[in-house]
Symmetry: C4
Subunit: 257 residues, 4 copies
């Protein structure tokens, strides 16, 4: 496998689909929020993405081999259908970030998707019990829709970059004929912890803007049940990143199975 690969499990017919991307990142806001939405809405998995730019290990989960991947789900709604993207990880390097983002956008385009919402976090270094949701878009229509649902687009002084998948999928969407907005939940950002409060704030905005029938009461419960898996992933990726960039020490080879 020398290129990012999307394996299609089903080819649903989707009506003017909008895509929402929730991948791991700061506070794991996107991962939790969209993972919860997928579960509550009983969205159906229809494709999986594997990449040579994901970490070179498999995880053991529930006594089984779990291969790192991103997953595509669809949910049939009244007006517009929704494609959800969730996953275990982002790419480990810059070239990979671009390749994965491009493959995702290409795939979405093939389903006639025109609008993409990416979810991320904005680390402020402070704890805020009532986190705001910030936004940046590639297009005015997107701003309209979310501004009236409480998203703060006055970000120039506060946020300078959006790193990784949430940034690049949004930033490159125009090359594939799509519009995009990135919603960033306010979170402390330090230390790396899962932030259900920020996830809830983002879900609040999404349910209003997209008119989703989503009960947020079970979010805490879901976060707890996802916690172990996500925590494990984080630790592993952090270790792998450190090893790959800060130099392997002598003993590291012993971890290669």
């Amino acid at each position: 496998m020398n290129e990012t690969k999307i394996v299609t499990l089903e080819k649903p017919k989707l009506k003017n689909p909008i895509c929402i991307v929730g991948l791991p990142g700061i506070g794991n806001i996107g991962r939790i929020a969209i993972g919860y939405a997928v579960q509550q809405l009983k969205a159906k998995k229809f494709a999986e993405l594997y990449s040579p730019y994901f970490f070179p290990f498999v995880m053991i989960h529930d006594d089984s081999i779990h291969t790192l991947r991103n997953e595509f789900y669809y949910f049939k709604d009244k007006k517009r259908d929704i494609i959800f993207i969730i996953g275990d990880c982002q790419s480990y390097d810059p070239k990979g970030h671009h390749e994965v983002a491009g493959k995702i956008l290409e795939f979405l385009k093939s389903y006639g998707c025109k609008d993409v919402i990416t979810i991320g976090g904005f680390g402020t270094g402070k704890v805020n019990d009532h986190p705001s949701v910030y936004g940046a878009a590639t297009d005015k229509d997107m701003i309209e829709l979310f501004k009236k649902n409480g998203v703060n687009f006055d970000v120039s002084g506060k946020i300078t970059t959006i790193v990784g998948a949430s940034g690049l999928i949004a930033g490159l969407s125009g090359l594939y004929g799509m519009k995009s907005v990135c919603l960033l939940g306010e979170t402390s950002g330090y230390p790396i912890i899962t932030d259900p409060n920020a996830a809830e704030a983002v879900l609040g905005v999404l349910t209003k803007a997209l008119n989703l029938k989503l009960d947020l009461k079970k979010l805490d419960e879901k976060v707890k049940s996802m916690h172990d898996f996500i925590k494990k992933l984080e630790v592993l990726q952090q270790q792998a990143t450190e090893q790959m960039t800060a130099g392997k020490k002598k003993d590291d080879l012993k971890y290669i199975g």
Copy 2:
């Protein structure tokens, strides 16, 4: 050579082949065990794999140039034929691990292979004279077969990841229509030493599960004869890894011939 390349020496007709992968890794368990099986069963080499993601040097062995490679052997058995994969090294980087794993799986698929067993080690930090064999699989059938032959699949609390070839070949096998199990011999894991005990434990499981006619008595002898070559390889790859990741020092260029 800008892509991993498999050179075919012979195209054997194989009957429902099962593949067993034994590449270098922790304790060199897979490399020793499968190297021994290849030799004892007089399996026949039919292909070689070369990769731009292997280290950029050749070894001097027996006064000759030895190019780093993985090798494919076949053994014709009563019920099912076996493909063995052994080799000098794994890839030096994450992208390469994926490319090599993908090429191997693609190649196996072309021979109608449906089942892959990868061999690795599980470093516990302790010496155990009667090492266990742990397992993780992508499929229940595989678990059945090996559980009844003494493999411990109760691993969730103990093992979090399987890094490199044994993990990825197993983890990506599903993308190529195959089922997979990874067998991990219990080994001290520190310092990096060849562990014939763990290799014997793994071979014990394999001979029972696959009904192989394999005399394990000469294993120690074989390990001794392989020792120098394997030791040299280990030291070299460790040096190369350190140089590539921890930063080259001024004098390093002098090693480039």
Copy 3:
């Protein structure tokens, strides 16, 4: 996106075009000089270049998502038309530098371009209020033209290399049937600051050599208005470069949105 990509917005017919490349670099001389020329001459954008070898983040600018890119502009002049290339960044790695340079040269060739001028800086470590413009070329014609307009081509003792886009686009131009000169404005080079003086010196040479109707009076004003954006870009890329090369620290993952 696993390859550098040029998106064409318009396909102008250009008469024997000459290309001038002004990308960020030491003193940002090329970026400022050519950015100013583009604005003053009201050159028209006709293509954009995106690369997987650009940093994996988007910037927030004017409350919007700004995707890192290089841009192609054309200006119709009496004798020869001009293609200007400006942009936010250069590649973050050596392979990327080559890929981007190659794509640019291929693209220029498709417009019948035969001559390329790249703009860079030559850091002397000293402040000079009347900076010289140095040059190095692949061809004697180029030297003739610029020598008589004040460029110093006596550089062998002073300059040993030209790193990155200005060097490679010039150095590889011959492979695409083009001639090239690199003009280097003398600048202090330390600390990394935008140097309008050197940019003015380079523009002085260009206007004379190419007979451009370019009023340099508003350069200072332009530099001020560009300052914030350029400064932000510099800081970000410096941070990103440090993270990617000097090893990520534990907390770095929190910056991934």
Copy 4:
């Protein structure tokens, strides 16, 4: 340019050509020896190789832009013609080493070349006024030819690896239907200095084995005239390697022109 590229200047008809590769490396033995042979024999350049895996800078040499490259020369001899390969540099990374070696071998194959000799150095850490020439081969015929001309093939205890181009071109030659020998001149190896003594020893062997009419008297003179250029190249590549691997410091961006 996202792949190594060979530009052909002429397509000579060559009679059973043998190739001799002399690229920079320890003691610059190959570079000097073959550079000298090319000059003395008035061999003719017929192709140039450029690679995205060469360092991302151009050199200033004789007030001109010099693009890093490898070069192919041919020399028509009585029995067999010779292809010489010399160049400014080797690849900066492992993948690149493999790609460049593969492209070279593919190119040689297209000219019907069956035998390749690569030249390198073997750093002993000691100065020896009468350096030996060591050898390692992929084939017995090669050993025969050079053993009787003074090359020591008894190397297993002394040399463990041959790193980079001399090793890989030899080691991968079999994949392209060729035989290969690597000749290593004994050299102190520290500090990185050009070693004309070792180069002369290697040339002595080559002239005898291949029956070349080569006057070695002017070698010292040639080495002196090449010295500045080679020294400059070495320093630059060392700096570039350090920057790329050991982490860029804050000020490094200023060197990007």
